[in-house]
């Protein structure tokens, strides 16, 4: 039976429908009778690379693909045109530069998210944030300075959301996961 938790634990798949599709495709290849011929099927260039829980890396990572980190990373991360997701178990000690940064784990260092930065409720950042758009879910921990780069600061809807939440006394976590806060 399909379990929601199972799907959630697959960090990449959760954030990237493309990646989920790729996983399925690869699984099908492995079980099929014509396994050898399928090995030559190219993987979509949009598949997110992943550093899983339990993997520890020190050094510098640069690239043009999306990256998901649920392990430990120390050094420097530069993905100027791609998205970086730090999973709930991810621990990063690095300055990060990316087009979009989603933090669900722990980051110690400056984050430059050219287009946007999202801090989920489990996110914990010790470092300055520099971005065009910032989304902070209730429960996220931030220790640092926020710099909004353009004249278009934090998303306008949030203030209205705050006022509405006060009136309705509903829980006020931002709909980061649904994409409405970010898109």
């Amino acid at each position: 039976m399909w379990k929601k938790e199972d799907a959630k634990s697959q960090g990449v798949a959760e954030n990237s429908p493309d990646a989920a599709g790729i996983s399925t495709a690869i699984a099908r290849q492995g079980s099929g009778a014509n396994r050898e011929s399928n090995l030559s099927v190219p993987v979509s260039p949009r598949a997110a690379a992943s550093i899983s829980q339990g993997i520890r890396i020190k050094g510098e990572v640069t690239g043009t693909e999306d990256l998901f980190i649920d392990g430990h990373f120390e050094g420097k991360l530069s993905l100027p045109n791609s998205s970086l997701t730090v999973g709930p178990n991810g621990e990063i000690k690095a300055d990060i530069t990316a087009r979009e940064v989603i933090v669900r784990g722990r980051v110690d260092g400056k984050i430059v998210g050219r287009e946007k930065i999202q801090l989920w409720s489990t996110g914990n950042v010790a470092g300055d944030l520099q971005t065009e758009r910032l989304t902070i879910e209730d429960g996220a921990v931030l220790r640092g300075r926020v710099e909004i780069e353009t004249g278009k600061p934090l998303e306008k809807h949030t203030e209205a959301r705050g006022a509405a939440a006060g009136a309705s006394s509903k829980p006020s976590s931002l709909p980061v996961g649904s994409g409405s806060a970010a898109d």
């Binding site: 669900r104 902070i136 300075r145 926020v146 710099e147 949030t158 959301r161 705050g162 006022a163 939440a165």
Partner: protein, 253 residues
């Protein structure tokens, strides 16, 4: 009894025969939500549901009036990083820094407890557990900002929850970090609070009060004279008494 239990923070505080500082707060009839799993930033769980209410704030109104026309001011928010609060000030041109000092304090106490246990088990020298020693160690790693780097500071009601010695040193630190003419917005409970609350800015006249699981037990209730002593280096003090036993205060350096 462990060091944290003495402060009423440790797990199972009050279960023994000792005086339980946190009991007064925990005994409140308010329904409690479970402790947030976000403390360690591990796990995929969402933050617990928070109960909210909105209150008018003359203190905030006056705070903003004092900051009017500042242009690109700098603000330090010592509460949790709420998007509404950050949004409010950033949209008004402020460069905002955020540091949840009460969370840092709690994490510091947990580390201190671990160090103390390690020192007891080994022959290494035990850390100085006096309040002054603890306060100094805490400030060695927190509130590390250059002098005169902020125009405004949101202190909220944090002083009620910090040990008095730590509170005094925090105020001294903030005074250094504040520019001449800078302003601090603080709140003080007129009696020991029944629950633990956090605050965020809704608009220029009102604050959202959010009941959350207690991070630290209230340490003391400050009288007006004590507040004046704490902020004796400030040029002016103005306070606003609310119906909810919460006094808002503004201090201008």
């Amino acid at each position: 009894m462990s060091f944290l239990n003495k402060l009423g923070i440790g797990v199972g505080a009050g279960a023994g025969g000792g005086r339980d500082i946190s009991r007064g707060i925990a005994a409140s009839n308010r329904p409690r939500t479970p402790a947030p799993a976000s403390t360690a930033a591990i796990g995929a769980t969402r933050a617990p549901e928070l109960r909210e209410s909105t209150r008018g704030s003359n203190g905030l109104k006056e705070f903003l009036w004092n900051l009017d026309g500042l242009g690109r001011g700098t603000l330090l928010d010592l509460g949790p990083a709420w998007q509404t609060t950050l949004s409010f000030f950033i949209e008004r041109g402020f460069r905002v820094s955020s540091e949840d000092i009460l969370r840092e304090w709690k994490e510091f106490l947990v580390e201190e407890e671990a160090k103390l246990r390690a020192a007891t088990g080994s022959s290494s020298e035990a850390p100085d557990v006096s309040p002054i020693g603890r306060a100094s160690r805490f400030l060695e790693t927190n509130l590390r900002y250059p002098a005169s780097s902020f125009d405004a500071i949101l202190l909220w009601d944090l002083l009620d929850y910090l040990e008095p010695v730590v509170g005094r040193q925090v105020v001294s630190c903030l005074t250094e970090m504040l520019r001449p003419g800078g302003i601090v917005f603080a709140m003080f409970h007129s009696k020991k609070p029944e629950g633990f609350q956090r605050y965020r800015v809704v608009d220029s006249n009102s604050l959202q009060v959010i009941s959350t699981p207690a991070l630290c037990p209230a340490q003391r209730v400050y009288q007006n004279r004590e507040i004046q002593d704490l902020f004796s280096r400030y040029r002016t003090m103005k306070s606003f008494v609310g119906r909810d036993q919460l006094r808002e205060a503004l201090f201008i350096k």
